[in-house]
């Protein structure tokens, strides 16, 4: 506790009931499932939390920032997984990551036993949790493995709404998804702007230039270049509807991550020594669907 008299954003946001961005992860997971079907697995009172954070004098959260709930979407069995961006930047630690990997595995086992189980992931994450570094890496590999195994049975839908964004290991999960839903406020990219500036210098990218950053990896750009499937407003009902519609559409004709021929062709057309703009990529890629 501090003595500064300032309300956190989330408290102020409680009055804005329909903004998905302002919801916490548990509420988001509930929004993505049919009303009244939300049934949380490993909830707060199970107290399976990070064993590594208290060892480093960091306060753990009872659900480790990953909400897993079983329910239905359009009456069909489903699991919703939501990361809490406000806790440790939505980072993937041993417990949060393993909750995601296990939920995907259980959905796949359901599919194999004749109970097709849909999976929707609401991702807000800076990537691996550096305080749990190498276990985080192992768990992210397991998440990827389970996501790839599950998408052979049912579509896997990723929602990136903001404001944390989806980076690092979770950007890989978004890359592997059957479908990606984004808002304009959301960002999807492998390396965060600060990391790029640090590693490549401010002449490569000025991490404070917010319009530039959103022009590169914001929802509008990702949708215009075919890296996201649906662009939605920050409205909980609209997002839930978009997710239902994608499950109704079924398996995508082509998985984006299988589009090597298209991307090899696209890369060949670009000269990496020249500076590129977001508009230029939009223009070049607008008529090609992956």
């Amino acid at each position: 506790m501090t003595t500064a008299a300032q309300l956190p954003e989330e408290v102020l946001a409680l009055s804005a009931r329909y903004s998905y961005i302002e919801m916490n992860a548990r509420t988001r997971a509930g929004q993505l499932l049919d009303p009244g079907t939300f049934c949380e697995l490993l909830g707060p009172f199970d107290r399976i939390e990070s064993p590594w954070l208290p060892m480093q004098d960091i306060v753990p959260q009872s659900d480790d920032g990953c909400i897993v709930a079983k329910g239905t979407i359009d009456g069909k069995p489903a699991v919703a997984i939501a990361l809490e961006g406000k806790f440790q930047g939505g980072s993937i630690g041993e417990v949060s990551g393993m909750k995601m990997a296990t939920a995907l595995a259980l959905a796949r086992q359901g599919c194999e036993r004749g109970i097709p189980t849909r999976a929707v992931l609401s991702l807000e994450s800076g990537g691996v949790r550096l305080q749990e570094a190498n276990i985080g890496e192992l768990v992210i590999a397991e998440i990827c493995a389970e996501l790839i195994a599950l998408r052979q049975h049912v579509p896997v839908v990723v929602v990136v709404a903001g404001m944390t964004g989806c980076f690092g290991g979770m950007s890989l999960a978004a890359g592997l998804a059957s479908y990606v839903v984004m808002t304009r406020q959301a960002r999807l990219s492998m390396n965060g702007p600060e990391v790029i500036e640090q590693e490549a210098g401010i002449e490569e990218l000025d991490a404070r230039d917010r319009p530039l950053i959103w022009s590169i990896c914001g929802g509008a750009q990702r949708h215009a270049t075919g890296i996201a499937d649906v662009l939605v407003e920050d409205d909980a009902a609209e997002i839930a509807q978009a997710v239902r519609a994608l499950f109704k559409r079924g398996e995508p004709t082509h998985l984006r991550s299988a589009a090597h021929e298209l991307y090899i062709e696209r890369l060949a057309q670009l000269d990496p020594v020249q500076p590129w703009s977001a508009e230029q990529i939009r223009e070049m890629w607008k008529d090609q669907t992956p």
Partner: protein, 97 residues
């Protein structure tokens, strides 16, 4: 990180479980459960050290008006006293809803 604990007399009524909040900057998470005895126990993990007196003042005031025998498991990430009071109140509302 600092761990604090406080203890208050209770009337013996047992509340229902409730969970509110997140361990995010300026906020806190509270897990409310019935306690095993006739008292209310508050266990705090806080990222900000050196505010034990402030916690005591806030909790003393809050528990003057709360009689149920509960365990409050609080994980704080630098919340203000106002936010702490608001979350405690919210936990009780959720517990009674």
């Amino acid at each position: 990180m600092e761990r604090l604990s406080f203890d208050y007399p209770a009337s013996g009524e047992k509340p229902k479980r409730a969970h509110v909040g997140v361990v995010g900057s300026g906020d806190l998470e509270i897990l409310l459960e019935p306690s095993a005895d006739e008292r209310t126990h508050v266990a705090i993990q806080t990222s900000v050290t050196g505010f034990a007196d402030t916690w005591k003042a806030v909790l003393d005031r809050f528990f003057e008006g709360y009689e149920e025998a509960a365990n409050f498991d609080i994980r704080d990430c630098g919340a203000t006293p106002g936010t702490v009071m608001m979350r405690l109140q919210q936990a009780i509302e959720v517990s009674r809803s």
